[in-house]
């Protein structure tokens, strides 16, 4: 089975600093893979490299088996990306934002599909026609998640997707992510939320200063990864 996302001996330089060092992992279809790490660990850099916004200094990244550097637009076509602290356009409503971004991606979506996606992220119907500059951070994040869902791509790259969400919304997001994975979509999410990652991910890679320092798989028959073990490893490497 071809990996949907794969990094092989990936190193990336930013502003003269090596922010990813010899990172390798691969993700299969329908899998939720979490990159866990502190600030500056290289998590977002990994996502930007899969999108072709950053070029590897060495190694390579593949999307659906194809080297990203050889066909960036194909990679972006296959990926829905939720950036960290996505705000979208404040002067537009949720509907207008979704319609605009989806039209840019060439995804023809009707109002019903938009409502379905916004229902799934639990955005109140009365807010959907309001300008997003009046939204809270959590509401904006919900619209951004809805956009990622609506792209209907096989792969989702989510950067801190639960940032700004309240606990109920986080649980709803985790359920949504699992539903999407069960429907065959591959998710790579980056987070520093240990608890959330353990509950939603099939596998967690622990990233510290650009280096993969640990990996945790969800045991067969279990509904989550051992939070305590990840916590210990995270704290140990963070303190190192």
């Amino acid at each position: 089975m071809i990996s949907m996302l794969a990094a092989q001996s990936l190193s990336v330089m930013r502003s003269g600093q090596e922010v990813l060092k010899d990172v390798s992992f691969s993700i299969k279809q329908g899998e939720i893979h979490a990159l866990l790490g502190g600030n500056g660990a290289g998590k977002s850099t990994t996502l930007l490299t899969f999108l072709g916004f950053l070029a590897p200094a060495s190694g390579n990244v593949h999307v659906q088996g194809r080297d990203v550097s050889e066909n960036v637009s194909a990679a972006r076509q296959a990926i829905a990306y939720l950036p960290e602290a996505a705000t979208l356009y404040g002067h537009l409503s949720a509907y207008e934002n979704l319609h605009y971004f989806l039209s840019l991606a060439g995804t023809d979506t009707g109002r019903k599909a938009l409502d379905d996606a916004l229902d799934r992220v639990a955005l109140q119907p009365e807010a959907r026609n309001m300008r997003m500059e009046t939204y809270s951070k959590g509401m904006r994040q919900k619209v951004a998640i809805a956009l990622a869902i609506l792209r209907d791509t096989p792969i989702l790259l989510l950067d801190e997707p639960t940032s700004g969400l309240d606990p109920v919304a986080i649980d709803e997001f985790n359920r949504l992510a699992r539903d999407l994975a069960e429907a065959g979509r591959t998710i790579l999410l980056v987070t520093h939320d240990v608890y959330g990652a353990c509950h939603v991910a099939d596998r967690i890679d622990l990233l510290q200063n650009g280096v993969l320092v640990g990996a945790f798989d969800r045991p067969a028959g279990m509904d989550r990864i051992d939070t305590e073990a990840v916590h210990v490893a995270f704290a140990q490497h963070a303190g190192a």
Partner: protein, 478 residues
Amino acid sequence: MSNVLSIAREESRLWLRSRLALFALLIFAVLLAAVSIATSLRMSEEHRERSEQQALAEETFLSQPDRHPHRMVHYGHYVFRTPPPLAMIDPGVDSVTGQSIFLEGHRQNTAMFADARAGADLGGFEGLTAALVYQLFVPLLLIAIGHGVFIREREENTLAPLLAQGVTGNELYAGKWIALAGVTLALLLPLAIVSAAAVVRGETLLASFGVIGLYALYLFVWCGLILLVSAMVRSRALSLGILALFWLASALIVPRMAVESAVSAMPAPGKIETDLRMQAELREVGDGHNAGAPQFMQLRANLLVQYDVERVEDLPVNFRGVVSEVAEADVTEVMNRFAEERMEFEVRQARFAESFGWLSPVVAVSAGSRALSGTDLATHHRFLREAEDVRFDFVQGLNRVHAEQLAYNDDINRSLNEEANRRTRMSAENWNVLDEFSFQPAAADERLARAGTPLGMLSAWLLLLTAGGVGAARRMQP
């Protein structure tokens, strides 16, 4: 293409929903409309007044009673330069070169200025023309609304989602360009209306479209610059600072530098020195009032031989009239040579100053605007030449009357008594030697040709800035 249009539409929607941008647009629309109307009214009034004065001057000349023809040579006549229809947009050199000339024998007078009434009526507001607003202030509006066009996408974290949808840097650039160009075209509407009014007043469509095209090109240059800077820098303050500095240099510093450099590089010979040189040459030609001057002895001898007579009194023509005619031709040749030298010098200075259009699009557009509107230095020089043709023709016409219709003996004895004097008065019908004068702008294709270099400069600016902007947008990363 659909992505480009979507981006353009979205950018326009942002400006329409932003009260600040909308307010700024409204203020400029009102300013443009007010200035366009004020300039149009002023130049229409100038056109009407000067046309009336021209007709009055001709009527006054033609209504003079029977007189000695040489008195009519010195009575003189006025010609007026009526402003062309497109002066409603750009009065150009109109206000600094004088609009009328007094024509008389043996002299080339300089153009005179109109009274200050028109300016006083507008409380000094007359200096603000539609051309000036488009050249200086519309770019400021474009800077105000466009300086953050790419930076905003970074600052609001929307660049990454945009690019992640598969939008390319080129599409993003083209979309933003179309949006800013759309604002530019909307701002050109008052100009289009005034140009249409100029067509109604007799201007050609080619010249009117030329002016609109020139200003569109000029403002597109600013769009290109704004997009380039916005794509290259990462903070709105820096972008605004760079663009404001460029505006300052382009609109105020370089034009001043252009004039100063032209004056320094080609210092004009002093007026007194030139006048003295010309007077020296004119003295050699001889005074046409003095038929006995040594300069005309050869002429006298030639005429006596030609008509096979012994004395000038026996010539079939009035020797004094012939002397006046010959002297006027010689004097005019000297004066024209000096005038052409001066005009050639002014043209070289103006060309030197206009070459600064490679450094400042404002210099380029102002030169092109004057040329297309028919209010440039070349037009003024043509006015001077046409006025001189009128002067020479009517003076020589009167000299011919003097030579052919007035008897020499009557002429030299006119001071003896009233009857003698009466015999030297020629019929007023002879004053019809004066041609009607109506100054018209040059043909549109000729004006377009004169605007060729400024148009080339602006095209080069646009190409360069667009290439830079496309390159910067292509490298754009979140």
